[in-house]
Each structure stands twice: as C-alpha cells, then as structure tokens.
Amino acid sequence: MKPSSRWTPYLFIAPALFFFAFAVLLPMVGTVFASFFQWDGFHEPIFVGFRNYGRALQDTIFLQSFWHVGIYVIATIFLEVAIGLILAGIVTSRKGFNSYRIALFIPVLLPTVVISVLWRFVFNADFGLIKGFLDAIGKPEWNHVWLGDKRFALLAICFVSGWIYAGFYLAIFYAGLQRVPKEITEAAAIDGAKSWKIFWKIKVPMIRRVWEVSLLICITGGIQGFDLFYIMTNGGPYYATEVPTTYMVRSVFRDGEVGFGSSLAVIVTSAVLIIGFVYSKVRAKSAEAVEY
C-alpha cells in the first residue's frame, strides 16, 4: 500500500530504529572496531591489527572455555531437548497430564539469579538438599563439595540447566504435537500400531521443524550462556567451569582488557552467527527434500 506521504513510513520506524541503532547496532560496530586495538578503556587505544585474535586463539583458558561450553551444549541437548521431547510424548499421550506440563514450566520464568542461588544451597556440602538426601539413604560418604570440585562443577551446572529448561522444550514440543493431524495417528492406531511406535515413527518425524529449531536454540543459547555460570561458580574452581562469556566479562571488567575482550566477543558472536547460518542452509535443503 502507498503511504499518504513519502515520509510517514520513516516516521513510524524512527523510534524503534533509534533505540535499536543506539543500543545495539552502534555498540556492535564499536565492539568489532575495538577488537583491533589494545585498549584498557581509559588511555589512548593502540592499533594492533589482528593481534588480539592471535592471542585469543593461543589463550589456553579461552580455548578450554569452548571445550566446556561444548560439553554443556551436548549435555543440555539430552537433559533439556531430549527429556523435553519424552515428557511431551508422555503428556500428550493421554488426558489429565496438563497440570504437569504447566508446573514444569515454572523455572523458565523465574530469574536465573534466584535459581542459581537456590541451587548453590542445594549443592551446599554442609546443609544442602543433596547432602540431606545422601544422609537419609545412608551414604554420607558420597557427599562432595559439588560446586568446588573440578570433577563435578560443570556437570552440576548442566544438571541445573536441565532442571530449568526441560519444561521449556516440553512446552515447545507440546505445541508442535498438538498440530499433528488426528486422522494420521488414528489411522495408524486402527492399523494396530502401538502408541510409542506412533510417537517415534509418525509424530516425531512430523514435527521435524520443531525439534530442529529446538536444537538450534539449545546450541546457540548454550554458547551464549552466562548467568548460571557466573553466579553458581564464576568460572571456578580453577577455571573448570569457565565459558567464553564468563572469560570475556573477566577480561573486560576485572583485567581492563577492553580490546582483547572485544575480540573474544567477536569470536563468540561469529560462532553463533555461523551456526545460525549453517542451520538455515541445511533447513532450506531439507525443506525441499521432504514436505509433509
């Protein structure tokens, strides 16, 4: 449709564009720019070309942080997406399970800070819920300083993440499964297919787009994960739970390395964008191949 005057569309867009450009686009360009400088944030920046990137790629803590976030992503694909899918299968299999679906979503809306502080208590070796449980089943020797132990800290965070987000993926899969036409599953049931078979062989392939998006969210969201890591362990003990984002914040705000931190930001952002791009390419291809 033609606007009544040439300028009105721009007037409509102006407020949104102002906030978005000022708060996001401009700083994003600034971050890329800053990544080519050695800068403590106060003195004159020194142009260093790609040296910050070279340093990042040789920084063992930074490289390890990608390893950690990789473990986290793989663990959460199982603890969040897979469990969410199984829960959705159970909840949609018969009537009367809706209250579970509604209840399991609760942690998704609570502040991560609240959840992190609560779970720090749950893992507490002196009075935590896990310690209480191990005492109750007569295995107090199994107790550990969970978040202070290199062997357990990262797994503990993955576990909490699963506790929060399984309900989120349950909600997403539930919405997807509701859209599978009843005729198809009923026809299969009449042909004598068992309900678990109908779920895995018919419903799950049909909601392919839903679990593809879920995997994408889980992977790209995982790479950006910060709050849980920062509050529960702040990267410790001995960098065992350091992820790219916590290391970035440490570099910029504790070590005052604005330039170096910016290069880390650019690397992490690129990783997220590349994964998103590859996903959209793969999806375009598969959409051509199978259209249900």
Binding site: T8, A16, L17, I106, V117, D227, Y230
Partner: protein
C-alpha cells in the same frame, strides 16, 4: 489402549518430585532456624513465623529492588510495545524505499547475542553518563526487546487481509489513523505475547544490570538479590525467605495467566 497409564503416571511423578523438591525445600527452610536447616532438611518446620518474609522484604531491602524492577519493566515494555508496533505497521503495510534493507537490519538483531555489543555499549553509556541512574537500564532493555517484538508484530499484521486497510484508506483514513484504529486493536493477541516476553526478559535480566548499576538504591531484583545474598551470607533463613518472597508471587501470576506466559516465552522461538 490406555493400559500403561500407571507407568506414565509413575514416571511423571518421580520426575515432578525431583523437579519440585528444591522449591519445596526453599519454602520450608524459610521457616527454619539455621540449626533446623542443617539438622533436619526434610522435616516440616516446628513453627510457622511469617515475620521473616517481612524482614526480607523491608529490612533486607527487597521492597526497594522490587519497585525499581517494576518501574524499569513497566517503562521498557511500554516503549517496546509502542515503538515496535509502529515500525511493524510500516514494514507490513507500506511500500517505501529501503524498507527491505531496514527490515534486514532489525532481523540481524534477532540473531545477535548480547555479547556482541555489551562491551562497547558499556563504554558508550559511560561516555554519555548514562550509567547508574534510576532509569539507566531502560534504553538497553528497549534495544534488546525491539527486534523480536517488531518481527512478531509484523507477522501478525501480515496475516490480516489487506482489504481492511484499503477500506480505511477509501474512507479517507490517514496513515496514523489506520495504525490507531485498524491495526492496533487487531494486534491485541500479539500485544499479550510481546508484553510477556519483554516484561519477563527485563524483570530477570542480569548481565547488563550488573554492569550498569552500582548504586544500591537503583538495583533491580536480580542484582539486588545477589547483593542481599553476600550481605546476609550466613543467615540462611533470611536468604531462603528472600528467595521465596520473589518466587511465590511469580508462580501465582503464572498460574493465573499460564497460557499467555507460555505463549509469550515460546512463540518467538518457534517462528
């Protein structure tokens, strides 16, 4: 057909127990003194004294954090709703030069992680003296919410029949009148969704709040709670009470509006 019902019930019950245990433990511990928290983690508290919630709320300063969060959340959500719906209306309904490129710019924002810009944003806000004010967080939160809000609103508007707008045009409606009297009323379901994810995102946001707010009296709930937890680091009863006081009202609101809230938090990711 339905003979395995009890297996599913059992599985779900076990999972729910594991799921609910920390939350129940939190609420019960708020009524227990430190010795009771240490010695009897599973028992019911021997008395229920609700005064501890009042202590957390007023003495601990939660009320202050709550007011700050409410103010920033309300303003941010309003600005996002207004500016994103205006922009979405223009993108959805008008032909104009550069509309594709401008839309692309917004869509980039859908993919950008906060890490891609917060370092320079911090420097920019420092330079412009925008940090550490009562409303400092509104600008970054609005910027954060706009891309998805614009995109969702545009999707809603795209699905409306164009005859609606053409009829209004024939009746002599101006561009703004069409937004005000045709588009805006039809956006209602979209408004609920966008309001929910903007408001919850703002209410819970942690990283930017931590960087931009140092002044105790401007802190929002997430960073306020962290301050609280280091200040009263050994008063576990008070800490459990604080967690409970923040959590319970959110759960009550969620139960009342669960359909809208689930939709608000999942719809954006499905599209």
């Amino acid at each position: 057909m339905k003979k395995f019902s009890w297996v599913f019930h059992l599985l779900l019950s076990i999972y729910s127990l594991f799921f609910a245990a920390p939350l129940i433990w939190m609420a019960l511990s708020a009524f227990k003194g430190n010795d009771e928290i240490f010695d009897k983690p599973f028992s019911l508290p021997h008395s229920y004294n609700f005064k501890v919630f009042l202590d957390a709320w007023s003495v601990g300063g939660l009320s202050k954090y709550f007011i700050n969060s409410a103010l920033i959340t309300g303003i941010s959500a309003l600005v996002v709703l207004l500016s994103a719906s205006l922009a979405a209306f223009a993108f959805s309904r008008f032909d104009f030069k550069g509309s594709k490129q401008l839309l692309m710019l917004f869509m980039i924002g859908l993919l950008l992680p906060i890490q891609s810009y917060f370092i320079s944003q911090n420097k920019l806000f420092e330079y412009l003296h925008l940090k550490d004010h009562k409303l400092s967080l509104v600008i970054p939160y609005v910027g954060l919410g706009i891309p998805l809000a614009t995109w969702l609103f545009k999707a809603y508007l795209d699905s409306l029949p164009k005859e609606l707008f053409e009829a209004a045009r024939v009746d002599g409606g101006s561009d703004f009148a069409m937004y005000r009297y045709v588009a805006a009323p039809l956006l209602k379901p979209g408004i609920a969704t966008v309001a929910v994810f903007t408001a919850l995102g703002t209410w819970n946001e942690f990283l930017l709040a931590m960087i931009y707010i140092q002044n105790e009296s401007y802190k929002t709930i997430p960073i306020g709670l962290l301050t609280f937890s280091s200040r009263y680091s050994t008063d576990y009863q008070l800490l459990f009470a604080a967690l409970t006081v923040i959590t319970i009202p959110m759960i009550i609101i969620y139960i009342a509006f669960n359909r809208q809230i689930v939709a608000g938090l999942t719809e954006g990711s499905l599209k």
